[in-house]
Symmetry: C2
Subunit: 334 residues, 2 copies
Amino acid sequence: LKTVTINDVAKKAGVSKSTVSHVLSGKRPIGVEVTQRVLKTIEELNYKPNVVARNLATRKTRMVGFYGPSTKSFKNDVFLNELIAGIIDVLDMNDYKMIYNPEKTNNSNGLPFDLDSSQPVDGAIIMNPRIGDDYLLRLKTEKIPFVLIGRPSDDLDIFYVDNDNVASTYSVINDLISKGHRQIILINSPKSYTMSEDREKGYMMAYSDNNLPVDGNLIFNVDICEEDGYDICSRLIGAGNPFSAVFACNDIVAVGVIKALKENKVKIPGKVVVIGEGDTLIARIHSPAISSINLGEYDIGATTAGILLDVIEKRRIKGGGHIMPSKLVERETS
Amino acid sequence: LKTVTINDVAKKAGVSKSTVSHVLSGKRPIGVEVTQRVLKTIEELNYKPNVVARNLATRKTRMVGFYGPSTKSFKNDVFLNELIAGIIDVLDMNDYKMIYNPEKTNNSNGLPFDLDSSQPVDGAIIMNPRIGDDYLLRLKTEKIPFVLIGRPSDDLDIFYVDNDNVASTYSVINDLISKGHRQIILINSPKSYTMSEDREKGYMMAYSDNNLPVDGNLIFNVDICEEDGYDICSRLIGAGNPFSAVFACNDIVAVGVIKALKENKVKIPGKVVVIGEGDTLIARIHSPAISSINLGEYDIGATTAGILLDVIEKRRIKGGGHIMPSKLVERETS
DNA sequence: CTGAAAGCGCTTACAG
DNA sequence: CTGAAAGCGCTTACAG
């Protein structure tokens, strides 16, 4: 079972391998008679071009690396499904493929991802940028095309797609304040993420614009999972700390919060209002159905992939951000 | 910004490129002084070996193709998250990566996937095998390592990982019958899947073992989505067809079923019992919480990946099936 | 319209 | 312990 190469085809068809190559790529005109013969030979020999060899010769792979959350987060987070579906759909239409690279929590080099010019990808999509992510600058100098999902730490000349998290958080908190809420819990994503900074900023602004003091003890940074939402909320109730609203950075965190509230027989939304983020399947299916900010995950994924392909194929050179719309979907918890 | 190659390193370090290669791979002993010098040069030049070139030379890529559901299914199916997490975790531990290939519904060649020896992967994981899938035989003759998730159509010498869907369906239906149910709806996956055949077989067996006639009109094949579950159930109620239990092939289908029941004010489980499959987050979070068969998705993914790596690395030669345990988790709908 | 040859950047027998 | 050279299977200038 020897593998059939372009040489075998060329020999059997009585042509050069450049001709075979060109018949396949269509990059130069080939006589119709020759084309027929080559195609027939390819069929007979069941020849399949070796993609790896082609990749080496062209220095392109038509592969994109997706650098996203750890598998632990992925397991229970429907948020990613829509986003990834958006990415894959756009890549697929353009004949690109995606490699999933989960974040490494204790990487030897201290970086969340092993991404450098040795990787067999034409570009990368990187989620959850962190504050002070200097390795992104290295990627930039190494001319590796990449697009962030989320705002970069400082260099805004990097390509990125994001929601306006400052505005959406501001809007939610401001609205709650206007309805009389004063002790509003913010359960935010890990402190290191730039999006956490944005939510906190929106939160602060809302209080400040209403001439109210901010209580730093109402802001928490957690891992995005049900347990952490549950733990925080249980602890607050246990300590007797008063609060009338919770804004959680993710629907699954909100589920944990509501679980704790239910266990303590706290009426929702009567005593405590809960708002999640992501507007995932979870928010809709949960009972009570969770009010949640829709971030347009599918579109985020699709837009990001589209921009990345533009960058890879040099249709887009100048970096910058692309802000996607988001809006609160009210359900039973608010 | 010329890319640094192994030649540049060799030249600057004053050694041959075989030596550089061997320092990196450790495949033959290199003098300690030379090793130091090479390593230092690599550092200075910031040399990153080109993985594509290595792949061509070794005819290995350390990549695995995952051939799974379309992005449409992926979007709302948490079932896949655990399964994929299991795959990626095992691959990651072994320094392999995964490429997600969604199923193509209208592929020009009529096949669900473009998978042949030209693909830059060392092996493949293929979901949802269909009845009469002859292209799998072609993969086998082409010596492409692959493992199925689900039972192959006929050739049981193919590697596969599956649950005993006949047994689990039999158990659910038999149990319902013993509790007095007679009109049990089976909402099965598409007819073409081998697993659908297995569920139907288990369903039939349960009726037969209880000396009851099977009503073929109670069995439906649907796409795995909420809408289809909803539609079937609504239609049945609308037509006045009596039934006291529904077994759905997937939690999200069960969600649709329950939605229809609720809309028609049918008491669950008082009037109609509903049982799902997958035991996903959805089943747990839903209200009422859905009784569902736990299939051990994470373990399925992890086991499949492990077997595939065994096959790729020739630690496993003889094909066959690996049956994973499943069990019903009772909640509020039964 | 077609071919001979160089090159992509590695690995690995072969030779010493 | 180390090197020179062939080879992996393609693409693409260069030449005609």
